[in-house]
Symmetry: C2
Subunit: 244 residues, 2 copies
């Protein structure tokens, strides 16, 4: 039986979603918890391979289990064996045999949190990007609209990116201020590696008045990573929702 | 010169606001940071002596410094020397010589966060109370109104409480649901030790249907701690604002 899992995690303690030799990953923690309750060695397929330090409120993954059980038992047992990891399985549903968390995803929604204030972060350390210089969120939102649509996003693509093509369709890129916080929302069928963080790093240049909307358009058209802004830190990034 | 400091902290790493022998306190961390930049040994007077694990978004404290400086320099220097503590000085203002953070406070606003869901907390571990049983927030809000006003709050008072009188005036006690979260807001000139946590623990009994509004009224009238509900954990409690 195939199961669809929706997962929350604090990425700060992990090398990222994907299993790696250099430290604990969310994928490996889930696989260990599933093994501990079922005795089965499964592979957990995630919709988004989030980087070290990136969080999730609604990562989606699928697993196959040979022994008969229920979605409820899977959720309770995996959560039990995950403790004290900073990973929680929010929901488990039975899925069709051909459901694939990564390949079947129709859209991914990311949120990026910037705390824009002079004072350091106490409560939100590791959970947001701290920017001390005042940012103009309206200018950021306006410039962001240049990136919406189907484009070659090479300017915002990490050199390690394994995607076959740099062409993606960005459905939404909004920046809005909520008090001292700026929230950037990005939605697309799929993203290139570091695309959201590179777009946010570029928008921050606009927010501080160093770049104009036209500069963003020029950088995008260059299709060259060296023409883009810096990569925003992972701390502020959350995978919020995956739709199928 | 006397300065008024507004302070944010993650209480999870501390034995509480007040200096104690058994571990790091917020007060001691602030006093050490002030000494590091000014060379002066000061006492930091806080408006609320929050317990171990209790957070602050807007604790207020005052200090006296002999050497001439500016509010801006105090804020920047203290924040610099606080690193990597999970404490941040949000603002510093020059204050009147007779300003007293604790004695002059006209009201204190606390917020208590309950995350009401089956799945464990990943992101909010240590930052909210995790209650798995479904809570009726409307019933909680309704019962809370019994506690608003001037009462003998002995039922909600910790045995260690040092207040002279158990009689306090509670100006506001609201419970409201925001998705899977229930937020309890409490405002009063001052609170007894553990009063907010004991009130929230009691309201949770109402939320899960074990207690009625009348039971809360009866418990309050008993003026006896053994008649009240359990103490809610510190993780969900935030000192939000102190007014003067």
């Amino acid at each position: 039986m195939r199961y669809k899992l929706t997962i929350e995690y604090d990425g700060g303690a992990y090398v990222g979603w994907q299993r790696q030799d250099n430290g604990p990953s969310i994928q490996a923690a889930l696989e260990a918890a599933i093994h501990a309750f079922s005795g089965e060695t499964v592979q957990v397929w995630g919709a988004g391979r989030t980087d070290a330090g990136v969080h999730a409120l609604g990562q989606v993954a699928h697993i196959d289990l040979a022994k008969a059980t229920t979605a409820r038992v899977v959720r309770e047992a995996v959560n039990h064996h995950l403790k004290p990891q900073r990973i929680a399985v929010l929901t488990v549903e039975e899925a069709a045999p051909n459901f694939h968390a990564r390949l079947a995803a129709k859209s991914r929604l990311y949120r990026y949190r910037i705390v824009n204030r002079r004072a350091p972060l106490a409560i939100d350390q590791g959970r947001a990007w701290h920017v001390q210089v005042a940012l103009d969120s309206d200018a950021m939102h306006d410039a962001a609209q240049v990136l919406v649509g189907r484009h070659d996003f090479s300017t915002f693509r990490a050199s390690l990116c394994q995607a076959k093509s740099p062409v993606k369709t960005l459905d939404q890129l909004d920046a809005r201020r909520l008090g001292e916080e700026i929230e950037v929302t990005a939605r697309a069928r799929s993203f290139l590696h570091h695309q959201v963080r590179n777009m946010v790093g570029t928008l921050a240049l606009v927010g501080r008045g160093k770049w104009s909307k036209a500069d963003v358009a020029k950088a995008l058209a260059a299709a060259d990573r060296t023409k883009g802004g810096p990569t925003a830190p992972p701390d502020g990034l959350y995978l919020v929702e995956v739709r199928y």
